[in-house]
C-alpha cells in the first residue's frame, strides 16, 4: 500500500476517546518452526482504527502497531514498516496473524466466531481469555490476561 501522505500520528477525533485494554498477551505457534512471544500490551480503538503497543517486562517497547483503513504500520522507534493488512502486521509482530476484530469482541465477553479459531471466555470476568487456531495449520494458542 502507498505510504500515507498525512503522518501516522494525526488520529481523527473519534479515535481520541476510545475503549482500551491493558494486560499481558502470549502467542504460541506450534508445528515445524515453533515460536512463542509474550509481552505486556496496551490495545486501543477497534479493528478499523486502532493501536496495539507491546512492552517487555522491563518496560521497554517491543513494537507499536497502528492501523487505519488506509494503512497498517509497525514501528519500534528506529524504523517504521508498512503492511497491506492487519493480519500481516500482527503476524510480523507476534508470530501469528491474529483475528483482531474477534479479539475486540472476546475482550468485551462476546463469543464472536471467526474462522479457524475457537475462544474460551469462561474466565473473562477474571480478565483471562484463551483462543486456539486449528486451521490453517500450524496450530496457534493465544492467551490474554487483563490487568485487574
Amino acid at each position: 500500500c502507498t505510504t500515507p501522505s498525512r503522518t501516522a500520528k494525526a488520529l481523527s477525533a473519534e479515535q481520541v476517546s476510545q475503549p482500551e485494554w491493558q494486560g499481558r498477551i502470549s502467542v504460541e505457534v506450534n508445528g515445524e518452526a515453533p515460536s512463542s512471544m509474550s509481552a505486556s500490551f496496551l490495545l486501543r480503538g477497534d479493528a478499523k482504527n486502532g493501536e496495539l503497543d507491546l512492552y517487555s517486562p522491563l518496560g521497554t517497547t517491543l513494537g507499536a502497531l497502528q492501523w487505519t483503513p488506509q494503512f497498517a504500520q509497525l514501528s519500534d522507534g528506529s524504523k517504521h514498516q508498512y503492511f497491506s493488512s492487519l493480519e500481516e502486521l500482527t503476524e510480523k509482530a507476534t508470530g501469528a496473524a491474529l483475528p483482531i476484530d474477534a479479539i475486540f469482541g472476546w475482550l468485551q465477553g462476546r463469543d464472536v466466531s471467526t474462522t479457524g479459531w475457537t475462544a474460551d471466555l469462561s474466565a473473562i470476568s477474571q480478565g483471562s481469555l484463551s483462543a486456539r487456531r486449528t486451521t490453517p495449520s500450524p496450530e496457534v494458542t493465544l492467551r490474554i490476561k487483563l490487568d485487574q
Binding site: 515453533p34 512463542s36 505486556s40 486501543r44 517486562p57 517497547t61 522507534g77 528506529s78 485487574q148
Partner: protein
C-alpha cells in the same frame, strides 16, 4: 569520576542482590493528557559474568532468568515460558549492563559511556547503545558509594518510543555469601509449555 566508580562497581561487585521498585511511564496517547505509569516490585540478583534474574512479585508474578546460556521468561498467569538464546537476547539490554559486563571496556563495546553530574546522592553514568537498531535510546545508572563498597541505587531506561522505566534498588547486598550459579537454574513449572525458538 562516576566512570571510575562504575569501573570499581563492575570489578568489585562480583554478585549482588536487592529489592527493586520499577515505575514505567508511557507518554500520553494522541489526544489524551494523562501520562500512564505502572509500578511493579520484586527482587533482582546477579552473578557476573553471565547470570542475573528479576523476580517480579507485584502486581503479578513474573520471572526473568539468565542462566548463562538461555534467557527464560516465565509468566505464571499466562502459564507460559519463553526461552531465548542469551547471546541474542542480551545485546544492549539494560540488564546486560549492570550484571554481566566484566569491566568498563567490555561495556564500551556495546555502549558509549558518559559521566554525568551527581544527583539524589548517587553518581551517574549515561550509556547509549552503539547498535543504532536498538529500541533503547539510553540508560542512566545511579551508583551508590558507601565507603569502599559500590552498589546500584537506580537504573533509568529510556526507549525510542518515549517509554521511561526507572528501577530503584533497596537493601542492596554486595557479594552475598549464599548467592551462586545454582540460584540461576530455571526449572520449568509442571504443566507449562515451553517453546525454545
Amino acid at each position: 569520576s562516576s566512570l571510575d566508580t562504575l569501573e570499581s562497581f563492575l570489578k568489585s561487585t562480583k554478585s549482588g542482590r536487592a529489592d527493586f521498585t520499577q515505575v514505567v511511564t508511557s507518554p500520553a496517547k494522541a489526544g489524551q493528557t494523562t501520562v500512564r505509569s505502572k509500578t511493579s516490585t520484586g527482587q533482582f540478583s546477579f552473578v557476573r559474568p553471565t547470570r542475573f534474574r528479576f523476580d517480579y512479585v507485584k502486581p503479578f508474578p513474573q520471572v526473568i532468568v539468565a542462566d548463562g546460556q538461555t534467557l527464560w521468561l516465565y509468566d505464571a498467569d499466562l502459564e507460559q515460558v519463553t526461552a531465548r538464546k542469551q547471546t541474542q537476547a542480551l545485546g544492549s539490554t539494560p540488564a546486560a549492563l549492570v550484571a554481566t559486563a566484566a569491566d568498563l571496556s567490555a561495556l564500551q563495546k556495546e555502549f558509549t559511556l558518559d559521566a554525568q553530574p551527581d544527583a539524589d546522592g548517587l553518581q551517574w553514568v549515561q550509556a547509549t547503545p552503539k547498535n543504532r537498531e536498538s529500541t533503547i535510546q539510553s540508560v542512566r545508572m545511579g551508583l551508590r558509594v558507601d565507603g569502599v563498597q559500590v552498589s546500584l541505587g537506580k537504573l533509568e531506561i529510556f526507549d525510542a518510543m518515549g517509554q521511561r522505566s526507572v528501577l530503584s534498588f533497596e537493601r542492596f547486598e554486595v557479594n552475598p555469601a549464599n548467592l551462586g550459579a545454582a540460584q540461576f537454574n530455571f526449572v520449568t513449572p509442571k504443566g507449562v509449555s515451553v517453546i525454545r525458538p
